[in-house]
Symmetry: C2
Subunit: 354 residues, 2 copies
């Protein structure tokens, strides 16, 4: 592997000095880019983009080729690859979101649940290896997974179930069943992220997209505990380096103190929290990643610059900040507005790293 030419992202995750605040964008390879839409059309479906390492590499590289100011690449994939391998039968109907052939609700099905063979996810690890090779040391590559709670929600609720009532009913009426699902899913995610690391991922992120739906005490029991187990089980890279980990609970900024204690190197923040206040709350335990509201990218370059400057000023002097959106970039974002954000981050962040 080529040596890394830009390690600012990894350095910031480890709270080491950088000359500016590194930046990437959640869902940076996505529908807002015309080149992505063209690739998806060629591939035939979203799932084909994920399952074919050549396509995954192509779309992963697109934002990097368009925006030279990006400091990290992220594997193009989907959190639903794991439920798919665990047997729910993922498919994407044309023009619709993900669907599952089965849900995981019956006790007999839950007793049969097992960690899948990682060979069923080989296409993901092949994509990681091919992207690393294509990156050629330009920026680091982030691997990722959904959190156990988030993946369990997908499997229990099924497609379209976003009121969380089925899984929460299980949490309160049959916590033993839910803990079994979460335990097996956490083992699966640990193996999955470690296989991504072995294939070349230089940082890993756990997306706890639905953790924010939980009650405060249920969050610790059903989501955070299992992310802690995963973080504790992460391996080093093939060349012996520690692979930094980022944990991101969307809607979870009330619980940052607890998140900062699970051993992850960085926490993702959505836009609900002031990043300067978040920094005060977590102290020196973790780096912070975030947290511009992606809706701001629908406004004007002048407004974007002003809002970027506010986030940077709120974080303030010193290292340990990775600039990002507070959630994935929306498909309606004009690509030039993403460029305006990246330029504003580079322009305004240097003063905070002197």
């Amino acid at each position: 592997m080529s040596p890394l030419k830009n390690d600012n992202f990894l350095r910031a995750l480890m709270r080491q000095p950088t000359d500016y605040t590194p930046v990437w964008m959640m869902r940076q390879a996505g529908r807002y880019l015309p080149e992505y839409r063209a690739s998806r059309k060629t591939a035939g479906s979203f799932l084909q983009l994920c399952k074919n390492p050549g396509f995954a590499t192509e779309v992963t590289m697109q934002p990097l080729d368009r925006y030279p100011l990006l400091d990290a690449a992220i594997l193009f994939s989907d959190i639903l690859t794991v439920p798919d391998a665990m047997g729910v039968g993922l498919y994407f109907a044309e023009g619709e979101g993900p669907k599952f052939e089965r849900t995981l609700r019956e006790e007999a099905d839950i007793q049969k649940l097992a960690v899948p063979d990682m060979a069923d996810l080989q296409y993901v690890f092949d994509a990681v290896a091919q992207i690393r090779k294509t990156l050629d040391g330009r920026v680091p590559l982030i691997g990722f997974s959904g959190s156990p709670w988030t993946l369990a929600t997908c499997m229990v609720e099924g497609q379209g179930g976003t009121d969380f009532l089925t899984i929460k009913k299980m949490a309160y009426a049959r916590p033993d069943l839910l803990h079994r699902i979460l335990d097996i899913t956490a083992q699966t995610v640990t193996q999955y992220l470690n296989a991504q690391i072995s294939a070349g991922a230089q940082a890993v992120m756990i997306f706890d997209s639905w953790g924010g739906a939980l009650a405060h005490d249920a969050y610790g029991e059903f989501s955070l505990n299992y992310m802690q187990k995963i973080v504790a089980g992460l391996i080093k890279s093939n060349d012996g380096r520690t692979v930094p980990s980022i944990v991101f609970t969307k809607g979870g900024a009330l619980w940052l103190e607890a998140q900062a204690d699970i051993g992850a190197d960085a926490l993702g923040l959505d836009w609900a929290v002031d990043i300067g206040q978040a920094r005060q709350r977590v102290g020196h335990r973790v780096a912070l990643q975030g947290n511009l509201d992606p809706a701001i990218l629908l406004s004007t370059p002048a407004a974007i610059e002003q809002q970027v400057a506010k986030v940077l000023a709120s974080y303030g002097q010193g290292h340990g900040h990775v600039f990002n959106l507070g959630h994935g970039i929306t498909q309606w974002t004009p690509p030039e507005n993403a460029a305006a954000m990246l330029e504003a981050v580079r322009l305004h962040s240097q003063a905070y790293h002197q």
Copy 2:
């Protein structure tokens, strides 16, 4: 009007002593009750239940007749009555949610927006008066409105628009237009709540259902500021009493300190925050209302009792707590589970009021 026989709810809102923790349930007159479903069938539609004071009274009374342990009634209505009066053309298609004939996005439309004639909402005030008369002093009656930000979201996004991208784009690109909408809506809500008070509402609640979607600084600018104006403009009741106000931003527990400063008597809490920690954060400035996850009511009476006891213990000794769910009761709740919650509140709360 008959004298109030049970003023525990009003006393708790004013942080005065009570013998137990009073309780009501958001959306307590709702689809989980077979008698409600029967009334709705007779009325023909949800909107008819709202617009006909006789039906509104009938369904408001249903949970009180079923559950003698309820300490408050809440006007049966919908936050969309106000956007309807402001001209978006509300209607409910059979078997679907609310729809609007028009959205409020164009500058010319926004310039024409005006406070509606309260006579267009007379059916609401008639319902308040009829419910007060029917209650005959049994428990206090709560009036309510959506917050300006929440109502503006409905008007700008239109039906089904819950990604907030249109209104947030306006917030960042044309804040002057959004502030005009919010200002007129705040004036409207103030008049609307005051007319409910004149008709007999004994407490008022502002539902900021979508405030939690805002970024931390945008929340103050676009939601909280306008709720503050409304609270400052509330009148006293016809008999000269102060009418306590409750402000509830769903998903807004990060910002409780700011909410506690706007002059409301109580804050609503969803289940994301530990109520004991919330109490520490707001000190003696406000009472707190909440905050059991309504999904818990789908489990078992034993689990419900345990979770109710946890909320009460977390709030701890002393007054100023109104027990409630953290959001509306779901339609899938077995009515006997709601009874189990109410009984657990009465049973376990008395020890904290000695």
